[in-house]
């Protein structure tokens, strides 16, 4: 924060606090006039020590804890963990459980992408889209609540299966919800592809070539928008994705606009996959028994979260508690892309650029400090956002 440059450059720290973000980043942008010349990141404001905490809890309690790594993609965290533990225990969850896991994961992806669409639009000063997409997001929240009983932490997974079931009534409701969402998603695609003001903020902004994306280790929609064909649901299918394959959706442009298009197209594919699951929902048991003590071993469980590749490394020493759990969240990879891609862009583009990787940015109070050897000025995130909007007006 005290960083000062002898050349009289501005160092603009952004962050540290960002409320709707699981890994609130504190960014520092060095600027020369209007152009960003360097960027660095500092995380840890919401670091709680979950990995250590997980070592003190038993295998079942950890589902509850790890679901709370992130409130937006809670289900996928629990899925990665349970799949890993099941692998260690040499247990395979029954097909119906796997299908339901996949179904909830895809619904969660829709909720996450719609949430992101709204937040990203808000950062660009397009509040109408924010309100619309969040209104429609309530549809998928209702579906998730109906299926699982909760709006945010679904608690669907247990070791060895799931604890919720679907019946005809629910299936009909899901289909109805999907029809509505599909229609709306087509509408949003039209908006992001045709609205002039929106295109002005997104096209050719933050362009990342395929080579860059691969080098910087981008994951998820951020990488796919640059043409990297990397989607674990396709490459290394888990849970129900063997049965119900998804399409790999990529774009070649690599700019912010492409990231919007990829995410919206992914939503469309989600609807297709969910319908397929509902059509061919396997029957049978919901869960199998998993021993209380998990056999010794190490495993890696990789899943595709809404934001990209999520990896769990789980080590057991044969006890009723894990020896080590390592969580590598997708946003961590994508921070690196922001700090590199930001260079050469205008300061006014930063809010959109940060929102583009979907670290779930939303309207809140992040402090922005403009430091200079002789003066120091604090901006809130809101100021920076406003600055960006005014700049393009």
């Amino acid at each position: 924060m005290e960083k000062q440059d002898s050349n009289g450059k501005f160092i603009v720290p952004i962050g540290p606090q960002h409320p709707a973000l699981k890994e609130p980043g504190h960014f520092e942008f060095a600027v020369e006039g209007e152009i960003v010349t360097g960027a660095a990141v500092r995380l840890g404001y919401v670091h709680r020590g979950i990995e250590k905490g997980a070592e003190a809890r038993n295998w079942t309690q950890n589902i509850y804890l790890l679901e709370r790594v992130c409130g937006i993609c809670s289900h996928i965290h629990a899925t990665a963990y349970t799949l890993g533990v099941e692998k260690l225990a040499n247990v395979v969850a029954p097909p119906r459980a796997q299908a339901i896991r996949t179904l909830v994961a895809e619904l969660e992806r829709i909720h996450s992408h719609l949430l992101w669409l709204g937040v990203a639009a808000h950062e660009g000063g397009f509040d109408t889209l924010f309100m619309f997409s969040w209104r429609d997001r309530e549809t998928v929240m209702d579906l998730l609540e109906m299926i699982t009983g909760n709006r945010v932490h679904y608690s669907t997974n247990i070791l060895g299966g799931v604890k919720i079931d679907l019946d005809d009534e629910k299936i009909t409701a899901i289909r109805k919800g999907l029809d509505f969402l599909e229609e709306r998603t087509h509408h949003y695609l039209k908006v992001i592809n045709t609205d002039e003001t929106f295109l002005g903020r997104t096209r050719d902004v933050g362009t990342m070539s395929r080579q860059q994306a691969e080098e910087l280790g981008a994951v998820g929609p951020t990488a796919r928008a640059s043409g990297v064909p990397r989607d674990l649901r396709v490459e290394a299918p888990y849970a129900g994705y063997h049965e119900f394959p998804v399409r790999l959706i990529t774009a070649t442009e690599g700019d912010l606009h492409a990231r919007f298009v990829v995410r919206m197209n992914e939503c469309l594919d989600c609807y297709r996959v969910i319908r397929e699951i509902l059509d061919r929902l396997p029957g049978g048991e919901l869960a199998t028994r998993v021993p209380r003590r998990i056999p010794e071993g190490e495993t890696i469980s990789r899943v595709e979260a809404p934001r990209g590749e999520l990896v769990y490394f789980i080590k057991s020493t044969g006890g009723d508690k894990p020896d080590r759990i390592k969580v590598r969240t997708p946003s961590l990879c994508n921070w690196g892309t922001v700090t590199s891609v930001a260079v050469g862009h205008k300061l006014a583009d930063m809010p959109m650029l940060l929102a583009g990787i979907d670290p779930c940015f939303s309207c809140n109070d992040r402090m922005v400090r403009v430091n200079r050897p002789d003066q120091s000025q604090t901006w809130s995130w809101e100021n920076l956002r406003q600055y960006g909007i005014e700049y393009y007006r």
């Binding site: 540290p16 709707a20 309207c363 109070d365 995130w381």
Partner: protein
């Protein structure tokens, strides 16, 4: 709160006007001191068309200097503790704090983790607690309403917890 008791009748009237205005349109600031996001997206959801708290005059503000109500989520992490206190100090008097979510109330699932100080009440005084992991948007609005009721001098609903937990 540290409000000075004013004897002058017209000052008292002015005070009533201020309090009326405050109750009619409380401005809130939202701060996450280590939450998992769950409560935060629900707080955001209260702003959006389905719940739309702005129809009650409640507005989410970007700056603590403009806010009457601090809506806090999450357990307090070591790194965020100072920020939370700083934001609280920046708010003008009188100020009120609403703690949202189980971990804001007690540390919740993160109790005992090495980077967690504890609940929000361990760091700053809290006026309203909204339980739930995360609480529904209705519950959050209900919590705000309870706060406003107590500002009017009414006793909060004794059923607050039962109904607010959603």
């Amino acid at each position: 709160m540290n409000e000075v008791k004013l004897e002058n009748p017209w000052q008292q009237a002015l005070d009533r006007v201020r309090s009326w205005a405050r109750i009619n349109s409380p401005w809130a600031i939202h701060f996450n001191s280590g939450s998992c996001n769950g409560c935060d997206i629900e707080i955001l959801a209260t702003l959006t068309p389905r719940y739309d708290v702005e129809r009650f005059g409640i507005k989410l503000q970007g700056s603590p200097r403009h806010a009457d109500v601090l809506i806090c989520t999450g357990p307090v992490t070591l790194q965020a503790r100072d920020r939370l206190v700083r934001i609280y100090n920046q708010m003008p008097e009188p100020k009120f704090v609403i703690a949202v979510g189980s971990c804001g109330l007690s540390g919740g699932a993160f109790q005992g983790c090495y980077n967690v100080v504890g609940s929000i009440a361990d760091v700053i005084p809290v006026d309203v607690y909204v339980p739930g992991c995360p609480p529904r948007p209705e519950a959050i609005i209900y919590g705000v309403v309870q706060l406003l009721k107590s500002l009017k001098g009414e006793t909060p609903d004794p059923q607050a917890n039962a109904a607010g937990a959603g």
